[in-house]
Structure formats: C-alpha cells, structure tokens
Amino acid sequence: MLFPTLDFAIFFLPVLVLVWTVGQASNEWRKIILLLASWIFYGAWDWRFVSLLIGSAAINWSIAQAVHARAEAGGSVQPWLGIGVAANLGILAFFKYFGFFLEELAPILMAAGFGRDLPLLEIILPVGISFFTFQGMSYLIDIARGHTKPASFLDITLLMSFFPHLVAGPIVRASHLVPQFQAVPKLTRSMVAASLILIIWGLFKKAVVANELAIGLVDKAFFDPAAQTGLDLLAGAYGYAVQIYCDFSAYSDMAVGLAGLLGYRFPRNFDQPYRAASLQDFWRRWHISLSSWLRDYLYISLGGNRGGVWFVCRNLMITMLLGGFWHGAKWTFLIWGGLHGGVLAIERLWREWRPSSAAFLPRPLAILFIFHVVVAGWIFFRADTLAGALAYFAELAALRPGVALTTPLIAGLIGFGLAIHFTPPALLPALARRVAAWPAPLTGLVAGLAILIIDTMRGDGVAAFIYYQF
C-alpha cells in the first residue's frame, strides 16, 4: 500500500476518524487501533511478515527487560545486549544478505565439490526490515546506556510497527516516540497546517517530479547507456540525484505529515542536502535519522573522534562502508559507501593538515563540487551492477552528440528539483503559520484543489518508493 494511492487514502481516513473518536476515550485503545491499522498496512504487502514484525518486537521487548534488570542489579549488561543486537542482525542478515553471500561463495563451494548441496532458497525481502531492525537495536542500546527506560510491550510493538514510518523511515527512536505514545496527543492548528502541507508537498515530489523523471529519463538512461547521447546521460545522472531526493524526501515528508495528523511528531529527515558545501555537511542534511543512527550507535562505538586522525579516518570509512552495505548486499552499494567514506576521510585530513596559505574554495564552488561527488556516488547506487555503473561512466565520457530523452519538461523538473534546495529554510514554517490562520473550509478547499492538480499531473500508476527495497 503506497502513500500516494487511493488505496492508502481509503485506509487512512477511517483510521484517522477512529483514532480521534474511539481513541479519545482511552489512550490504550488509541494505540491498539494504531497497532491493528499498522498490521493491516504491512499485511497488505505480505501477511506472512506481520508475524516477523511481532516476533521482532517481542524479542526486543523481552531482551530490553533483561538488560534493564541487569543494569538495576549492578551487573554487566553486555551479554544480554550482545544477544539482542545479534538477534536483530541475524534477522537482517538472513533476509537481506543470505542470498548475496551464497552467490559470492558459490564458485568456491562448487570448486570444493559442495555445489549440489547449495540450498535453493529464494528469500523474499520483507519491506522495511532494515528500518525496524535498526529501531530495535537502538532501543536496546539506549536501554543499556541508560538513555531511555523500558517501555510496555504495546508501546514497543507500536514503535516498531507504526505505519507512517514502518517501511522507509524516518528511523524514529524509542526515546523520541515512546514518551509521545504514553501521553494523549494534542493537535494544534499549526501542526495540522504543517502536516497537510508536508503531505501535499510530498505527493507532488513523488507523484509528479520523481515519477516523471524516472519514467521519462532515468530508467531509460540506466537501462542502456550505450544507446544514449552524452547530454542525456549527464541529464540522467542529475535526474537521478533529483529523483532519489524527491522520492525519498517525499516519503519522509508524507510520513511526518501523516503522523502529525495522528498527533505524533517525527524527526526531520532531510534539510536541503544539495546545498551542502562539504560531504560532512551533506550527511547532516541527507537521511538525517540514518546518519545520526550510524553516528550514535556505530561511529561512536568504534571510537568516534577519539584517537589520532588516521583512527578517525578508519572509523569514517568503516561507518560509511557499513552504511552502504545497510542499503543492500551489492558491490555497487559498498562502492557508494566507500566513495563517501573516502571523501569524508579526505575532508578530515584536509582540515587537519591544510596549509595555512591554501585558500578556501568559494562556497558556490564547494557546493558544486560536493554535488558532483554525490552524483558520481548516485551512479553506483542506481546501477544494477558494478559493470553497469562503469559502463555508464564510460558512455558518459564518450560524449555522443544530440539530445533525445531530455525534453523541456524533464530539464525543467531537474532544474526545479535543484532550485528547491536554495529556497529559504524557514519557508515551510512560515507557510504553515499562514495556513494555520486560514478558516478551515478554505484550507480544505485549497488542499483538495492541490491534490486534484497533482493527481492530474501524475502518470498512470505510481512506482514503489526507492527506499522500499531497503
């Protein structure tokens, strides 16, 4: 069930009514309604994996109780924490990486005569597994560190199953969401206004910008780079940068907006990432909930900024390689992570050893340079195989003349997708404050018209969000 579909609207409106009617009488009932709705939402994709969701929540809840009990008794929490982290990683590894390792090991096993014993398992990847396992792990680590208290089984199950963030984030931590679950939410006019704006803005970015770029340009450019001109391949690379931003940030915006209408606050996940003047700055603006997760639970655990500069570079590299691997078991994701880790390390070395006479790059040039580093990384990220990514670079360098895929509309959408990174950062709050002051019928009328326009502009059907596969 995708957010920008009528299926989802028909699912969401009754949930909204139930939550604010039946749920007003009792906060427990509100959570039970949300939990059942979340399971229906997840079950619409594949009912079998609802039990995985419940099982994962049960494991994390029970281990969190054990970790907390050990901590209260003054004992070491490490054994239980280790079991909990291993259980989460085990679930993730089985569904996400088993096939990859089997494929990579197959030639060795075949050579050793074990080929006929290789299991023929076609493992289906449960949607959103990377997100809810990371949520489970952060909950356990926060309990062990004393950053949060154990929550009830209902709260933890709802935290991990809550449908707005279930399949593609943002990664919401227990310390942020559980206290919200424990109180009766209040809805303010400004929260309603901001939520409606985010939902409509997300719909536009996904259904119009990302979809049009994917169908009209990016899919064709990456499918067969040898058949495209140099300009189209360049536009394809820029187009994918805009597509993935508009696709993923649209999901986050809609998730934040939907949760907002239900009375809950989700964290910001994007902050105009392509206006970053360094790669470190980019990661402060892109998929913020993942980058802060990696920082708090991986980078700091590895030693963080302690130790010498080479030690810090090593930590950056490991963090980004694992961040790449989190996206999927493919060499292209590892190279993408390695590229980001490498450039982050170079930035660190440059800050450490920059000659005092060396001039700073003017900010517009730094933004342009970092944008192109990110675009180069996206080519690896988008290509199906490593050979496909290398072929894309080779064909791009061939600079065949002409233009076929890049229509005026496509060029306009790329320009639009980049231009929105340079609007004032306070635009949304300013607009939300203005809309909050409108009479409710006017808000409804404008929202309805905006959705009508978006629905008219979008093509037939909506492709799944890119981050569904992770």
Binding site: L6, D7, I10, L13, L16, W20, H176, K186, L187, T188, R189, S190, M191, V192, A193, A194, S195, L196, L198, D253, V256, G257, G260, L261, R265, F266, P267, R268, D271, Q280, W283, R284, R285, I288, S291, S292, R295, Y299, T407, P408, L409, L428, P429, A432, R433, A436, P439, A440, P441, T443, G444, L445, A447, G448, L449, I451, L452, D455, T456, M457
Partner: protein, 109 residues
C-alpha cells in the same frame, strides 16, 4: 552528522483568536478536501473501483463509484480536471525547437 530532534510539524504555539481548535480544523479541512475530490475527481474513484476483484461483494462499490462518476460528468464537474490534463499533456509533449524541425534541417544544426 546531525544531533538534533526537531520535527517539521513543530511550527509555533497556537495563535490567539482562532475559531476552531486543531482537531476541528483538521476534521473540517479533511472533510471538505475529500468531498471536493469526490465531486471533481470522481473518475479516479471509479477507476479504483474498476480495478477491484470482480466478485459480488464489490459490485455495489463499483456501481456506486460509476454512478457518481456519471453524475458528476453530466454536470460538467469533470471539466476542470480534463482541461488541466490537456494542458499537462501539452507540456509533456513539448520538444526543443530544433526537434520540431524536419529531419533534414535538424541534421544541419
């Protein structure tokens, strides 16, 4: 990397002198938006209903959605969407000036 928890829906405290509280504001706004879309975009609902599994229990939904689409179309309520669609199709079909030229002239550019 980021170290903050701020939410995009944290905009401001309530402004004074507003007629409806947040919940009522949402109920009216969402209700009007949904009603407006039912009238101006009824064919989308009919398309959705048409894609349902053709079994007896879905027949009333399909009939109701088709009826609504016919009635709104008969009153001209589908025209704004049709006009928008036509405009957007023109935008999508637009090509660069040299592409609109005949093939032999295009080669010279």
């Amino acid at each position: 990397m980021a170290d903050r928890f701020d939410s995009p829906v944290d905009v401001a405290t309530e402004l004074p002198g507003m007629a409806l509280p947040g919940l009522a504001q949402m109920a009216v706004a969402v209700g009007i938006a949904a009603f407006g879309l039912l009238l101006l975009n009824a064919h989308a609902l009919a398309d959705w209903a048409g894609a349902l599994e053709p079994v007896p229990r879905t027949a009333p939904i399909v009939n109701a959605a088709d009826y609504l689409a016919e009635q709104t179309a008969a009153r001209g309520l589908d025209r704004p969407r049709a006009a928008l669609k036509s405009f957007w199709d023109d935008v999508k079909a637009a090509r660069w000036p040299h592409e609109a030229l005949p093939q032999d002239q295009r080669k010279k550019l």
